[in-house]
């Protein structure tokens, strides 16, 4: 049986084990005078038996499937003639690939030499053997599990507690995987960034004012040695994020206040879904809106005022990112505003405050920490935004404070550094990881502050 059928069989067995375990426990219950004399409800004995049946077998199946290719490969190589075994690694890989192709199609097999055909036959034999052992082992384990599990059913056996414990362990492992993934990502970025800092001093990277990551590929090439000063990138990032927040914070906040405090239910029922659609538009679509509509508009407007506007500008990108973030801020603010207890509002009205005064003096101050938290989360999004910037703000790494100029951001540079054919150990590509690390640290700090602020806010209404 292949792994999929085996898995399905295993699930079927586990269901049977559940039914069997439950039945056994019911029998025990009858013998000892009713279900309430059992330690746990019958279904827990069922779960316990099913776990004994399924869990060990599942683990073995998983391990086997993971280790099988490597073990088989080793066996296969060992069976090959010595001259093939001594091939350099890359050629050996090609050779093994060939074998797998031959094993997979008769056409390929006709053109192959005897050595290869022999090896293929050996490979197939080994695969069959492995599958056979795997099936046998898993099924035996599953059946043994049922027998063992069922044999443990007795009046005083604490099935509920065992099931709870297993559940807890499974939950713990799942969360462990998420944590490990995070740590793994951080470490990989960190190590690549450290390699970059071997080639380029940290100081030059953090405080250098020039960004031009082109390096000569070969020593005889004419070309710059590259400059990796990240300041222009961070400047561009900050400028775009600032423009975006300038748009998004007031609009989002006022939207939230209007919708939660003043709007009629009918209008709210219409406006909220529209805002949610705004949040669901892919950023690429925002990107061409920025590049094709907003940027030219700004250009014409700027020119009519006699200003020189680049066809791609920080302003265009910033405005569109701002629009993109409005629903993010408005829905978060709406939540925290609605979390302000109704009693606060009534208390204020009863003292003779108008609605606007109540919003300004009671609701906003009470909701402020939550709003600030939401805004900080939105800032991280603005900083991380890539697509809109690529399309609307350009690629030029310029030291400028003029929002009408083309600028570039950290994320955009990461994309350009890593797309296309690249050597993965040149400073140019490694620079992407250093930038990624910086970005990660920045957004991490923002998020930590945001979470701290939000938590403080929660404590207020304990």
């Amino acid at each position: 049986m292949n792994s999929t059928t085996l898995l399905v069989t295993l699930i079927g067995l586990a269901i049977l084990a559940y039914l069997y375990g439950r039945k056994r426990s019911l029998a025990v219950a009858v013998a000892s005078g009713g279900v309430r004399h059992l330690h746990s409800l019958p279904r827990y004995y069922g779960y316990m038996t099913a776990l004994w049946c399924g869990l060990p077998a599942m683990i073995v199946l998983l391990l086997w499937s993971m280790l099988e290719p490597a073990v088989l490969n080793q066996q296969l190589i060992a069976s090959l003639p010595v001259d093939v075994q001594n091939l350099p690694e890359s050629q050996l890989g090609l050779y093994l690939n060939d074998l797998k192709l031959i094993a997979g199609s008769a056409e390929q097999a006709q053109q192959a030499d005897q050595v290869k055909i022999d090896a293929t036959v050996y490979l197939q034999h080994m695969q069959e053997l492995s599958a056979w052992f795997k099936t046998a082992l898993v099924l035996v384990l599953a059946l043994a599990g049922i027998i063992w599990g069922a044999s443990r059913i007795s009046q005083h056996f604490q099935a509920r507690n065992s099931v709870e414990m297993v559940t807890r362990i499974i939950l713990m492992l799942s969360s462990g995987i998420a944590v490990m993934a995070t740590i793994g990502i951080v470490l990989s970025v960190l190590f690549e960034a450290l390699r970059f800092f071997e080639a380029v001093p940290v100081w030059d990277f953090l405080f250098g004012l020039e960004w031009s990551p082109q390096t000569a590929m070969r020593s005889d090439q004419v070309g710059s040695s590259g400059a990796f000063g990240a300041v222009p990138l961070f400047l561009g990032t900050m400028m775009i994020a600032a423009i975006a927040m300038l748009i998004a914070v007031p609009l989002g906040l006022m939207t939230a206040i209007y919708l939660s405090q003043f709007a009629t239910p009918q209008f709210r029922n219409f406006a909220k879904p529209v805002l949610e659609i705004l949040a669901g538009i892919p950023t690429v679509v925002y990107g061409f809106f920025a590049a094709l509509t907003v940027a030219p508009l700004i250009r014409t407007m700027g020119e009519s005022l006699g200003l020189a506007v680049a066809s791609e500008s920080a302003l265009a990108a910033g405005i569109v990112i701002g629009v993109m973030i409005i629903p993010f801020i408005s829905s978060l603010s709406d939540d925290v505003i609605n979390a302000v207890p109704e009693a606060m509002r009534e208390g204020s009205y009863a003292l003779g405050a108008t609605r606007a005064e109540t919003v300004r003096k009671v609701i906003i101050p009470a909701a402020l920490p939550g709003i600030v938290g939401g805004v900080l989360l939105a800032v991280s999004r603005a900083i991380g935004e890539t697509m809109i910037v690529v399309m609307a703000a350009g690629l030029a790494a310029k030291m400028t404070a003029n929002p009408l100029d083309a600028v570039t951001t950290v994320t955009v540079q990461i994309v350009t550094l890593l797309t296309g054919d690249q050597e993965f150990d040149s400073p140019k590509t490694l620079a992407a990881f250093a930038l990624g690390l910086m970005l990660f640290v920045t957004t991490l700090i923002l998020n930590v502050i945001a979470l701290y602020v939000v938590r403080k806010y929660r404590e207020q209404y304990e």
């Binding site: 239910p265 009693a343 606060m344 208390g347 009863a350 003292l351 003779g352 101050p365």
Partner: protein, 275 residues
């Protein structure tokens, strides 16, 4: 043996309010009040006067419309969309529901204290100063200080909090919070104070403090208090009005209501047959 009257008969049983709903020179007079939530009627043809400087208790089983009626006085029901009020409400001679009456200004004259203490998440000082600032009652900081201190004193809270006026109002105990809310209400110098079960969320000691306070406040204010505790009504009020299913069944001197109720329903309630 008294017989408990079943619901369908009750509207029959309450044809007219028993007792003396009207007073000479009332502070607030209400006539033929009906209140609806959408199509559901919550108050049926209630007429009642509130005398100047008296404490009147509104009692009755829960859901009988005490809060609904109380919230008509300062037009708090305006904030509930489905709520519709008809009938006549007068604060002395002024029509409370007149077109020209600004509910915001009205609420400065008729203050309200709620069932659950609801101090703002601001400092004690700012909680009390909130109303005076809104209505421009103080022209400088010294006057504001004066208002805050005297309001806290009148609410019997000043001695307990005088060293921490800048601490958060939400950090006080339940009873202190409720007195803070009373101080906050007093600070805008209302003529009438409405209280909706002001002590129901408090422990017995805090309740006793609030009750003493209500007795003192009668000197300066007219007080309408909703309560589900008959002992409380008996302790703090001069008149008592008994509501049942949205109707005003009986009004009279508190003493008389509790010792010699005229209406069968009132007697049933007083003697604990329902509620």
């Amino acid at each position: 043996m008294t017989q408990v009257i079943e619901a369908p008969d009750i509207h029959q049983a309450i044809k007219q309010t028993v007792g003396s709903p009207f007073t000479h020179k009332p502070k607030i007079s209400t006539r033929n009040v009906d209140v609806f939530y959408d199509d559901k009627q919550a108050i049926f043809d209630v007429s009642l006067d509130i005398g100047s400087h008296e404490v009147i208790a509104l009692i009755g089983p829960s859901g009988c419309g005490k809060s609904t009626y109380l919230r008509c006085f300062n037009r708090m029901n305006d904030t509930i969309q489905s709520c519709r009020v008809t009938g006549e409400f007068r604060l002395e001679e002024e029509d409370i529901y007149a077109r020209g009456m600004d509910p915001v200004l009205l609420r400065a004259r008729i203050g309200m204290v709620f069932q659950k203490p609801n101090p703002f998440p601001k400092s004690i000082y700012d909680n009390v100063a909130y109303g005076p600032k809104l209505h421009g009652l103080a022209s400088n900081r010294a006057e504001l200080d004066e208002i805050v201190v005297s309001s806290l004193q009148k609410a019997g809270l000043y001695e307990e909090v005088k060293d921490r006026l800048n601490a958060s109002g939400t950090g006080l105990s339940g009873g202190q919070q409720q007195r803070l809310c009373i101080a906050r209400t007093i600070a805008v110098s209302p003529e009438v104070i409405l209280m909706d079960e002001p002590a129901s969320a408090l422990d017995p000691i805090a309740t006793a403090t609030i009750e003493e306070l209500i007795d003192e406040l009668r000197q300066n204010y007219t007080i309408v208090i909703v309560t589900h505790s008959m002992q409380q009504a008996a302790r703090v009020s001069q008149r008592t009005a008994y509501f049942h299913l949205g109707k005003l069944v009986e009004v009279g001197d508190t003493n008389q209501i509790f010792t010699n109720p005229q209406h069968q329903l009132t007697e049933n309630y007083i003697t604990g047959r329902f509620g």
